[in-house]
């Protein structure tokens, strides 16, 4: 298997790597614990993350498996602290959220060593589907409660 790209820390907020096709990716995490205050089972150590291309043309690039390997490597480091939990959403603005989900899913299933569990969700917001997912270490002490709470977040209010 190929190696991950070298990770740089350009500032105190993010990670970056540059691919062989000279595309620069920036990855950062946001603390969302406060937003989950109504869900005490999942409120602690809850983060979201984003991946942005900040330089280069991703659209003209050929498939590069090292990108997925590098992203998963970041998550392996992140989940060294097993209490950490990630909830993320796929951007819907250009209607390509399912394509993004497929790309991330491919990376995840291909390079995850089995220690990270992924739970998919689709939230309905004013008639629009928001594709989202939970990532959690399989040894997390509140694994089942957190997955249950995550599923509850995606349920529709009033649905029987």
């Amino acid at each position: 298997m190929s190696n991950p790209y070298n990770l740089f820390e350009p500032d105190e907020f993010s990670y970056e790597f540059v691919t062989s096709q000279e595309i620069t990716y920036q990855i950062y995490f946001l603390d969302y614990s406060a937003m989950f205050a109504d869900y005490p089972n999942i409120a602690e150590f809850i983060y979201t993350f984003n991946i942005d291309v900040i330089d280069g043309n991703e659209k003209s690039a050929i498939t590069d498996e090292r990108i997925g390997i590098t992203i998963v490597e970041i998550f392996k480091r992140f989940f060294i602290k097993i209490e950490n939990v990630v909830v993320y959403v796929c951007d819907t603005t250009d209607k390509k959220h399912y394509a993004r989900k497929r790309k991330f899913d491919t990376w995840f299933w291909k390079y995850n060593d089995g220690n990270i569990i992924k739970e998919d969700g689709i939230a309905m917001i004013e008639g629009t589907e928001i594709v989202n997912a939970l990532l959690i270490e399989k040894h997390h002490p509140k694994l089942h409660e957190i997955i249950f709470a995550f599923k509850d977040l995606n349920n529709k209010v009033g649905e029987k």
Partner: protein, 52 residues
């Protein structure tokens, strides 16, 4: 069944506000970066962390 599906489309998920905020934050930060901005410019608005 059809009626129930139509009703459900008008219902929000319980976590709608959270997911909506996540999406709005994600898009706002992404736009800022695409314009050449730095995350440090937004450090007072968002809670960036390095949990690793």
């Amino acid at each position: 069944m059809v009626v129930k599906e139509k009703i459900n489309k008008t219902l929000n998920s319980k976590g709608a506000a959270i997911f909506k905020k996540m999406l709005e934050d994600k898009n706002a930060i992404s736009k800022h970066l695409q314009k050449g901005g730095k995350l440090s410019d937004l450090k007072d608005k968002y809670k960036f962390v390095k949990p690793i």
